[in-house]
Symmetry: C2
């Protein structure tokens, strides 16, 4: 009898977004026609920028033409895109070889696949609150998970502690859900910790394009020693609105070795065995993001989300609520009033001011009592939601 | 110290296509300007059909428009595409629930990912000659591999043998590289065997669109009992020229259970955890394949490859060489003359008639002494290659 992967039986029911959907459906049934202000979504709302659209159309035309048609793509990424990404890193002072850049279908796909590089008995450290898939992907592989809770006092950015040893360490900065961003010094502490212990950091930089403060690192490879201990996983989902178009990239330095094996070379072998590369059309669209015109246009879109953030921050400032995030990140993470549970606060916002957010408890137990607001919603709804929050009644 | 997945050290060097590339490069350096007739490629040469191109352009326009823009797609596939695929099965007499169809980025991606459903200690049966990634993906997971050799006498289509028990069984029909296709009766033997032993068949149907004979099954789900023992993995790569555009689909019946676990439900959980779905643009292109117009156009392209097959078959018939495949498959599998090794025959074809094929030994040791010709090349080159083969000198 074929034995399935019984670790799937250890998965907790993934109820966060389903429970939110159920509550919204129940509300809408009871209140037909009432508009909801959706500040819960992690999805973008602005269409792709013009440079990307033109590159996609041109690539589709290539696929219609016998002499310009592209069949199988190189499994690790098209040279034109790997070069564009490597050049983008150079423009920030990070020097990479082109073959250290791997094109992916997106960060979520890659965060699941990349675990194949590690022994099934290795442990994974997840700093919580966190994106739920970090935990679930490791549960599926039967890995021991070390949950590291964070709190308001450490700004949701913990220091490494030598009594906590883990093989694989997830760091997400700017963070989903808290919006907290690692400064150079604290991130250097983690790089040094990983090098000291032989750990490997999976650095999720999906929100790096939202960093405004000059001194904050966009890439872990801006830090000394990262090339021997880190893998960086990036995405165009939030950077360029590719959530439904799908493209990301991963950087694995050639110096990253463990037990005599090159993780870079292992990943080349993984990709050449288990994939046939990413769609030519989509890679052409992605390459347009890294042109000067593409960069200008995506930052115009990002500035719309930034204005949403400013509007929500002003509202929270007005009512004096504690929060972090918003400035260098697309999420705001606020403390629920009166020691209210995060699901209770969800219900209050939904029922009293028709604003939908995301209960912090869904990102790990230390998220209880906190609440996530997204800045990816449409600007009109964000302004109205902010006014309803600024009225203050839901915080009293 | 983080332990990498040491099973990667057990991988054999993947030298088949690299060695071919090296030999071609050496030949071209010694013979500048000499044209090579490439009958080795498994890639398509015709551009995407018009119905797909129009659907792709329209979908790109959707991504440019605020009200028609698509963000995150459902992880298991867009309803419009799952419905189109399920309807396509119905048109062949196979009834499927829409949610038994999963959209993927292609068969090679899925064949790697799907192994996550099975216990790491389960064994995998690979009928050889075979696509090398079947073996490599299982070596990476540390699985025991049962190599089942086939031969001319059984038509490269073995019967199951009850003394060979395996948990996961790969069946590829029409076969790459041999072009052999399972008839109903022998495929039913495998379905019955899998149900008897509790095995799970991974049925790779990437080449089903090349089947011409009415009585041959396109889908394993045309067979009785397959819903309790099989997963079918399909691709638009060869069906519609999507090798570089990337789209496939996988069927997992809800009845497929092992040890109390539903493999269907496990795959839903896998996809929702480890992916964010396939590109909206590409899914729209894929849906166009299943329209009446799309079906008509892709079969026009397939008929070009069919004519290539006919031309090559006529040449081999003329010189009286044993081969299989070609009629219901895009590959021909021929016996090398005079007990020549498959790499020796490769060298002879390259040096004497400038035709490039694929040595059978690269698909497993029982492929030694055989040679694969692809029908995906351009028609002019195929005609010239066939004439050079029909001349007969390389077979004497």
């Amino acid at each position: 009898m074929t034995r399935p992967n019984m670790h799937y039986a250890d998965l907790r029911d993934s109820y966060l977004f389903r429970r939110i959907a159920q509550k919204i459906a129940a509300y809408e049934e009871d209140h037909p026609g009432v508009h909801l202000y959706r500040m819960g979504i992690g999805d973008v709302s602005l269409p792709l920028c013009d440079a990307v659209i033109r590159a996609l159309h041109k690539a589709v035309d290539d696929q219609a033409n016998a002499t310009r048609f592209h069949g199988y793509m190189p499994e690790c990424g098209a040279p034109f895109l790997r070069e564009a990404i490597a050049a983008h890193y150079v423009s920030r002072g990070v020097s990479l070889d082109v073959d250290e850049v791997f094109v992916s279908s997106g960060a979520s796909d890659e965060l699941g696949d990349i675990l194949d590089l590690f022994d099934a008995r290795s442990s994974a450290m997840v700093i919580e609150p966190a994106y739920p898939a970090y935990v679930d992907a490791n549960v599926m592989a039967g890995r021991a998970i070390i949950h590291v809770p964070t709190c308001e006092e450490d700004g949701f950015l913990p220091r490494p502690s030598d009594d906590l040893q883990a093989n694989v360490i997830y760091l997400c900065s700017p963070n989903n859900p808290t919006g907290a961003v690692f400064g150079r010094k604290r991130l250097q502490d983690w790089v040094d910790f990983a090098n000291r212990h032989g750990s490997v950091i999976l650095f999720d930089a999906a929100y790096e394009a939202f960093i405004e403060d000059e001194e904050l690192p966009h890439s872990i490879f801006e830090l000394e020693g990262a090339r021997t201990c880190a893998i960086e996983i990036c995405s165009l989902s939030k950077t360029a609105g590719f959530t439904g178009t799908r493209l990301g990239y991963t950087v694995i330095p050639t110096e990253l070795r463990r037990c005599g094996m090159s993780l870079h070379d292992m990943w080349v072998r993984n990709r050449t065995t288990k994939t046939n590369g990413v769609s030519y059309v989509i890679q052409r669209g992605g390459a347009a993001v890294f042109t000067p015109e593409g960069q200008r246009q995506i930052h115009q879109n990002i500035s719309v989300y930034k204005r949403n953030a400013r509007v929500l921050m002003d509202a929270l400032d007005k009512v004096g609520v504690w929060y972090c995030g918003g400035r260098n990140a697309p999420y705001l993470w606020l403390r629920c009033p009166d020691g209210l549970g995060s699901w209770e606060f969800f219900d209050r916002l939904l029922n009293e001011i028709q604003v939908v957010g995301t209960p912090g408890e869904g990102f790990g137990s230390c998220g209880e009592g906190y609440f996530r607001l997204s800045t990816f919603g449409n600007p009109h709804d964000t302004i109205e939601a902010a006014q309803r929050l600024a009225d203050g009644s839901v915080f009293r």
